[in-house]
């Protein structure tokens, strides 16, 4: 955890400084004399993040205890693969809804997700993935008049 904290703090420190000195000035209009200029809030918020990341970094660097054995790193190879895989899958699902529309896209997403999470019985996959988007669509469109793609 100590190593993970150091890497996270470094990442936040660099991101915070980049935001404060590069991105926020470019992405905000110059302020007026009256009231708070537009850049104040994001700069203050990023200032808190950067300062706290600096404190966290110093704390962890000064902390010479080898805590790695007690608390293993929360992000190992498997976790990176897990989150990367699911993120890709979710964005693919988003594309499926966009191009195939809600019901066919929904059926596809549900079927793939069920398979990936370990459901191997085709009947179960069909029984859940097919009616669910229809039911959600019907409930939202006919019940609450909410339009879906």
């Amino acid at each position: 955890m100590r190593k993970a904290d150091i890497i996270t703090a470094l990442f936040l420190l660099v991101t915070g400084l980049t935001m404060i000195f590069v991105i926020i000035p470019v992405q905000t209009y110059p302020g007026e004399e009256y009231g708070v200029p537009p850049a104040t809030m994001p700069t203050a918020a990023m200032g808190i993040v950067t300062a706290m990341a600096g404190i966290l970094l110093v704390q962890r660097l000064l902390d010479r205890r080898k805590t790695e054995k007690d608390t293993p790193s929360p992000m190992r190879r498997l976790q990176w693969l897990h989150i990367a895989g699911f993120t890709a899958l979710l964005f693919a699902g988003l594309a499926a809804i966009k191009f195939l529309h809600f019901i066919p896209g929904g059926i596809l997403i549900l079927a793939v997700l069920m398979f990936i999470t370990g459901q191997r019985k085709p009947l179960n996959i069909i029984l859940v993935s097919v009616p669910t988007p229809f039911l959600v669509y019907a409930a939202l469109w006919y019940g609450l008049k909410i339009p879906l793609p």
């Binding site: 209009y29 007026e32 966290l56 205890r65 989150i83 997700l113 909410i146």
Partner: protein, 508 residues
């Protein structure tokens, strides 16, 4: 008086009662599944409330919270795995009771205690909120600013394992809240040329991503689909092992009242949530008991203490929201989204501008308690069945609902993309022990913070030190300073303790 009566009467329309019923049933269902919880369900349900009346929408969402908090006890008792974090203390005595064949008795006590704590805290809200709102109306921008600083610091210090990580969460939340139009100059800010960002980031997309989807992503990491051993309800057991007699209920009445008081007090303070309340309630009951050794081995009083305390947080949690517009926890933060959807700004003015709605909500909460009791008692065996639904069915369906919810919140696929982005951020925050609670509350309070800061600076001609010249603001700033000092001192002591321990080990 007319407004109060009209508000309470509004609750009794068939539609409102139906939505409260649905909310509670949905809450118990979600709460019963380990890994899912009330705030997550509220985040998912808020977009569905767009087309409901304000009263039906808020009562529906509060119903989810009530049901979800009670639902957590089902898995805690029968699985020894708390369905929601606040049910962790219920495991201590609930599960041993289930092992002894008294699962149904424990579940019934959890239900009665939940409804008792809930009702107690609702009455406290009803009695206390309006008078506090009158005082709150006299507060100006510097006072509001100091209250926000105080609330954010307390939440950061108590929610996160470390104050530093809590404050990083709050800072990130405020930063994301600043994306969109600048309120003073009406110019786009940090939108990167994307018109979809000009209205800011949708609270619903952020809430669904960080609360619901990220949690499912974390839960899906658990290997396989191994279901834990469920202690089924045994119909062949004697009546006394399945029921709570009036005598038994009277026996725990003192515990219920004590826990409800603890829970209500914890709920009224920002950051001190149901988890702390349930452990404090349990601890207090154990200390006060004539037989403290029986706690942890299947004492029904332990279940009553934990459940009354965690449910007593629900009503009182709305005190800071209704009186100051400040959410005390994530569920209240999500409720703010629902209020805003319906054109209501939570805060002291709500009593003046939407008095009838406020009293309608109070009525809805009380009706909700009766319905919770009925649904819990009648549907007990059905909700127990929820525990046996395979994860590879329930989680994909929730992911699909997350995608749908984010879409209907903003009517755009862009919001779905934003929601996925925040799910990934929430996943990392959970893994790296950063507080996503302070993140969400920071996001909700960000615009209010900016507005108060703007007004304070304008009224004081850019003199921020005005907050040290106003008595109420000064009190809150002093509280904040004392709190930070105590947290820093406590962490220093903990660090010194570990160094001493290490040196001791090294010498031996």
């Amino acid at each position: 008086m007319e407004v109060i009566l009209a508000g309470f009467l509004d609750t009794f329309s068939l539609t409102n009662i139906l939505f409260i019923f649905l909310g509670i049933a949905m809450g118990v269902f979600v709460g019963a599944v380990p890994g899912l919880n009330g705030p997550m369900a509220i985040a998912l349900a808020v977009p569905m409330t767009y087309y409901m009346s304000p009263l039906a929408a808020i009562a529906f969402l509060i119903g989810i919270n009530k049901g979800g908090t009670y639902g957590g006890s089902i898995a805690a008792i029968l699985l020894n795995t708390p369905g929601t974090p606040e049910a962790a203390a219920t495991c201590y005595d609930g599960h041993p009771l289930a092992k002894q064949g008294k699962g149904e008795k424990a579940l019934k006590m959890a239900l009665y205690a939940s409804v008792f704590g809930d009702t107690f805290s609702d009455f406290i809200l009803i009695l206390v909120a309006a008078p506090i709102a009158v005082v709150a109306l006299k507060m100006g921008p510097p006072e509001i600013l100091s209250v926000i600083i105080f609330a954010l610091t307390i939440i950061a210090g108590l929610e996160a394992k470390q104050l530093v990580k809590g404050l990083i969460g709050a800072g990130l939340g405020i930063f994301f809240a600043s994306i969109g139009m600048d309120p003073n100059t009406a110019t786009p800010r940090l939108t990167f040329g994307l018109w979809e960002l000009e209205n800011g980031i949708s609270l619903m997309a952020l809430g669904i991503g960080t609360l619901a989807l990220s949690e499912v992503l974390v839960q899906l990491e658990a290997k396989g689909d191994a279901q834990d051993k469920i202690f089924e309800l045994d119909k062949t057991q004697k009546k006394e092992n399945r029921r709570i007699s009036l005598r038994e209920f009277r026996g725990v009445l003192r515990t219920l009242t004590r826990s409800s008081l603890i829970g209500s007090a914890m709920g009224a303070l920002p950051g001190l949530g149901a988890v702390i309340a349930s452990f404090l309630g349990y601890g207090a009951a154990k200390r006060a008991s004539k037989d403290p050794d029986s706690f942890g081995k299947g004492n029904i009083e332990g279940v009553a203490a934990a459940e009354a305390a965690n449910n007593a947080v629900i009503g009182s949690n709305l005190i800071p929201l209704f009186t100051l517009g400040i959410p005390g926890n994530v569920a209240s933060a999500m409720l703010i989204g629902a209020f805003i959807i319906h054109g209501v700004t939570p805060g002291p003015l709500m009593f003046e501008e939407h008095g009838r709605l406020v009293y309608g909500i109070y009525g809805g909460m009380l009706v909700g308690n009766v319905l919770n009791l009925l649904i819990g008692a009648i549907g007990l065996r059905i909700f127990v069945r929820v525990l046996s639904i395979p994860r590879n069915i329930i989680y994909p369906v929730i992911i699909f609902i997350c995608l749908t919810g984010a879409y209907i919140a903003d009517n755009s696929l862009f919001a779905v993309g934003v929601m996925i982005g925040f799910a990934v951020l929430g996943y990392f925050m959970k893994k790296l022990e950063f507080s996503f609670v302070t993140f969400i509350i920071g996001f909700v309070l960000g615009p209010m913070f900016e507005m108060s800061l703007q007004q304070t600076l304008i009224m004081s001609r850019n003199n921020i030190f005005i907050i040290f010249q106003r008595p109420i603001a000064l009190v809150f700033i002093a509280f904040t300073a004392v709190f930070v000092w105590r947290v820093v001192r406590r962490s220093g002591k903990t660090a010194r303790g570990s160094i001493k321990q290490r040196n001791g080990r090294g010498l031996s």
